[in-house]
């Protein structure tokens, strides 16, 4: 109850509520633009948050995430081009409904489901973050090392089919993470006596480059996306009777969204597709899926908005981001000197409860702004792509330069953009790079400090029960992915040999 009072006083005395509304509006626009994922929409805003109050800055970023997860469904439904990866599942039934002239209804279902998923996710976030953070207080060096390893083990499951590429990208991230001051000896590593590098390569710059700049470069080589022919579409909210029919699929979406949001590495798109499949499995009318089923929109849209809230749980309690978007949010926290973990709740209760309050405002605002922003969002999606991309590039550069007035920062962004572009070209996944970069220091510093504690005795890693449990979890994760990959490869091989035999006959 004390938390409610704190949240209320923060919302009434700071511009956080305004930031929540602005973030949702920007998120919807960014999410609606194909190519601008929630993480890119957040990365574009990040430089402008440097001089804000911490609470407003973080609410702005988190609200952008919320808005973008809904915004992505607009082009998914209207032009069959998902604005975000997580909206890809929505485009299956959403576009079918639009073809049947029920596009407004589809958008209404998406909006209501997004708000529902967000609210349920928020309740989970509020009730579970603090207990988890208290648990984090008993995390010692070996436990943090094991947590970092568990975070990295996600790489194995991500890039199915190209585990090698995932590992290569991860190693690049780990290598970049070694630049800066050595955590134990204090010696400068690869800093070339440059004071800008004493604190390491700021991973925000790398993320903006790898996500945003490389996306702009690759968009330049792609044809124009389709334009919405009917810009006059209006949102039609489902009636209570129709909404009740969606409860089951929304429940499935919320459950899966909550689970996937908390799990590192999963994120919105996996949650969306999983809940689409589950909603079909448990539906009374599974035959309608793929032919314009409202449930096929409700489930994934509930799931990806639930993820947008619950993905904050591991970030706030352990400082471990599970996805690109939350990695950027972590960057935003660090910029303002807010170190996630158990102390955050003791030292900055106004911030934590203000953030929860801001997210509640964002989810409510999503409902109103979702309807208001539809026409401008469609208008923007229908502008010529070159103009849009040029504007976004200008936004990136002016934003980055305004942080430190530093050309060095711009070069880092450009170089990361080039690396990101090459990675796209050769099919390397990004998340391993980001995880390596963000977790590399954590793993190295805690590994070495754990050994410092024991005078070089490695037994410390399995004598601590938390560390042992996490390391086993990481091993199970890697093994399961390896088994799955092997099965898939065998299935492919069998299919190929069968095809060859058929040809031979």
């Amino acid at each position: 109850m004390e938390g409610f009072a704190t949240a209320w006083s923060v919302l009434t005395t700071t511009p956080a509520a305004f930031a929540a509304v602005a973030g949702v509006a920007w998120g919807i626009v960014g999410g609606a633009l194909p190519g601008i994922s929630p993480s890119i929409a957040m990365a574009l805003l990040l430089p402008f948050t440097y001089d804000m109050e911490p609470i407003s800055a973080i609410v702005l970023l988190a609200a952008t995430y919320v808005g973008a997860e809904y915004g992505g469904s607009i082009p998914a439904i209207l032009i069959r081009t998902p604005g975000t990866n997580a909206a890809a599942a929505t485009s299956i039934d959403g576009y079918e409904m639009h073809k049947q002239g029920r596009g407004g209804e589809a958008l209404g279902i998406s909006l209501v489901s997004g708000v529902t998923g967000g609210m349920i996710g928020l309740i989970f976030l509020v009730s579970f973050t603090e207990p988890l953070a208290k648990l984090a207080l008993s995390f010692t060096f070996p436990a943090y090392f094991a947590l970092g390893v568990l975070g990295l083990s996600v790489i194995a499951s991500l890039s199915s089919g190209s585990v090698i590429k995932g590992l290569m990208a991860g190693v690049i991230g780990l290598m970049v993470a070694t630049i800066g001051t050595d955590p134990l000896s204090g010696v400068g590593r690869f800093t070339f006596d440059n004071a800008e590098l004493l604190g390491g390569v700021p991973f925000i710059l790398v993320m903006v480059g790898v996500f945003a700049v490389s996306e702009l470069m690759s968009q330049a080589g792609k044809p124009e996306w389709r334009k919405a022919d009917d810009a006059q579409t209006r949102i039609k909210l489902p009636s209570f009777r129709n909404w009740r029919k969606l409860w089951k699929s929304q429940g499935i979406g919320s459950g899966i969204g909550i689970f996937e949001g908390v799990m590192p590495g999963a994120g919105g798109s996996i949650a969306a597709f999983m809940s689409y499949n589950e909603a079909r499995r448990w539906s009374k009318e599974p035959e309608l899926f793929g032919k314009g089923s409202p449930e096929g929109i409700a489930a994934p849209e509930t799931a990806n908005n639930a993820v947008a809230c619950t993905a904050l749980v591991p970030v706030l309690s352990f400082g471990i981001p599970g996805s690109n978007s939350t990695a950027i949010l972590l960057g935003g926290l660090l910029i303002h000197g807010l170190h996630p973990g158990p102390l955050l709740f003791q030292q900055e209760p106004e911030f934590v409860y203000g953030l929860f309050g801001g997210l509640a405002v964002a989810n409510v605002a999503l409902f109103a702004i979702g309807m208001l922003m539809l026409t401008p969002a469609i208008w923007l999606v229908n502008r010529p792509k070159p103009y849009l991309m040029a504007c976004i590039l200008a936004l990136v550069f002016s934003g980055i330069y305004s942080i430190n007035h530093s050309m060095f920062d711009l070069y880092v962004v450009l170089a990361s953009g080039l690396i990101g572009y090459l990675m796209r070209l050769f099919g390397f996944p990004f998340l391993p790079l980001v995880l390596g970069l963000v977790l590399g220091y954590l793993i190295e510093a805690n590994y070495r400090r754990a050994l410092e504690l024991t005078g070089g005795d490695h037994r410390v890693f399995w004598e601590s029960s938390i560390s042992l449990g996490l390391l086993i979890a990481a091993a199970v994760f890697i093994l399961a992915s390896a088994v799955r990959d092997a099965q898939m490869a065998r299935r492919k091989l069998r299919a190929a040999t069968q095809a060859m035999e058929a040809n031979a006959e």
């Binding site: 207080l137 008993s138 000896s185 800093t191 000197g337 430190n404």
Partner: protein, 323 residues
Amino acid sequence: MRFGFGKITLAAAVAAGFLASTNAPVAAQEYPHSTVTLVTHSSPGGGTDVFLREMVGFLGKAMGPTFIVENVKGGSGAKAMAKLASSPTDGSIFYGTTPTYINTSLLSKLDADYTSLEGVANVFMDPQTVFVRADSPFQSISDVVAASKANPDSVLFGVTTPGSLDRQVMEKFKKMTGVTSRVITHDGGGDLLISVLNGTVSAAIGELQELSPQIAAGEIRIITTYTAERLATLPDVPTAREQGIDMVVNKFRGIAGPRGVSDEIKAAWSTGIQKVLEDPDFKAWYSAQSLVPAFMPAAEYDQFLNDFAVDQKAFLIEYGIIK
């Protein structure tokens, strides 16, 4: 290897003397600028930023001009030093000092480093303290020394970063008392606090400002302060000196300008800082923050900063952090 802590103590004593005999020859003179910029490398809300922003209101009253605080972040102070080095020496722009800018100068090769700047006046010292978890058996640093001597592996010391002032203090403490327990470095004050709370390290060095929420919550205790006298806010906590460890550590907070500021300007600052330290409202604020007023005039402060840099460099070389 020599340390300058004795000298720092001396400086503080001299400063106290200065405070007692407030001589103000240029108090009546007008300050030559209507606006004065104070640069800090700390981000909005950071320690130095808060200190400067709190002080400027009182400085304006005491000295006349309007003071504004500008945050020049980046490169741990390198950007701010570069800005100061290329600024006019006419008294329109100054820098809020902390040990960080000297450390950055020593750790990297810069075009503009701490030698491009000149001490104008010192304002405060942040007291460094030794703290333990509330349920720790240690009541004073003498207990820690005894336990460590009995079994060096039973005690672990915690400090923030490897090149920090508190690591230097801890290493010097080990040398003075002859204890050999290991020193564990961290990424910053927050991490160190967690290590103390979950029992990873037995005793650590920290600043009161950062620790106050946990002290108020009864989760940690201060067992010793590295100050010349007991702190007014912690009258029951003994100093290290009382326990036979003759070491006084002071993390300075003051004002520096581009090298070549005129004597008149320095004198104006001298008077101004002494005035704000006497202001009852400002006094209420800094006493609550456990900041110890430690005014030093320009010549003395500049010498103090140079001595500090020499000691810091010797420490960094001895522990292999720089060559």
